[in-house]
Amino acid sequence: METTMIYYLIPTLIMFCCGVYGFLTRKNMIAMLISLELMLNAVDINFVVFNRYLFPGQMEGMFFTLFAIAIAAAETALAIAIIINVFRAAKNIDVTDLKKMKF
């Protein structure tokens, strides 16, 4: 058996769909963030896989992933700072319950 590209892309696709599902159904903000990470990770894998199979020896996909990881780290840190702040103000981090600032 030969592990072709599709063998890698299908699991990442499932991973991505799990992320979508989680993002749409979860109410806890941290759980939503976790789902987001899932999606991001799936995309990262795709970059690497395409790079590896179609352009071996080049490193564009790999570096893109590298930068994506760095940015994801930054984004998560900031998001968690905000979430903690919201929690401090509202004692709650359910997105459906945060209606104070709504019109």
């Binding site: 749409l24 990770n41 760095a70 900031l78 981090i93």
Partner: protein
């Protein structure tokens, strides 16, 4: 033809990715969800190793698994009330989410399958990019080198540190 060990390795990775992703979004305890995410990320790192990107795999483990998940765990412990770590989902909401994700799966999967010819390329031979090459590519300013994005990301991280401190500090 690949070695049997390699194929077994692939199946383990693929299965753990799928299973742990699904568990991440279906478990009702948020701390478990974070733990499953950790396993998913480990599996991803293993996948990078398998595809001969050792450096990327190491970064994945160090930054994602070591940094971000720990951050998640900390924030979960900070924000969740003890004894209230399960959330009840409305069934309508769950069905809708399911529909959306399945639709995504179908459409993207159809796109993938219809391009099967291109996607069935075999794994080409490739030597591992060694650290020296990675370093020069990351730090060089020439053609196909990434000094500028590197600096941009460093500035972004700095801004993020400051922003995080400002947002989260006690007033």
């Amino acid at each position: 033809m690949e070695s049997v060990g390699s194929i077994i390795m692939y199946w383990i990775i693929a299965l753990s990715i799928v299973v742990f992703s699904v568990l991440t979004v279906t478990t009702r305890k948020i701390l478990r969800s974070a733990t499953y995410l950790l396993f998913t990320l480990f599996a991803t790192a293993a996948l990078y190793f398998k595809l001969d990107y050792e450096f990327l795999g190491a970064v994945q483990i160090a930054v994602y698994a070591g940094g971000i998940v720990v951050l998640f765990v900390f924030s979960i412990l900070l924000t969740s009330h003890p004894g209230h770590n399960s959330e009840r989902l409305v069934s309508r909401r769950r069905v809708l989410g399911l529909v959306a994700s399945v639709a995504t799966l179908v459409i993207a999967g159809y796109a993938l399958v219809s391009r099967c010819g291109m996607l069935c390329t075999k794994l080409p031979q490739m030597s591992n990019p060694d650290m020296k090459t990675i370093g020069t590519t990351l730090m060089g300013s020439g053609d196909g080198q990434y000094l500028l994005p590197f600096e941009a990301v460093s500035v972004l991280l700095l801004a993020c540190i400051i922003g995080g401190v400002v947002v989260a500090r006690k007033r």
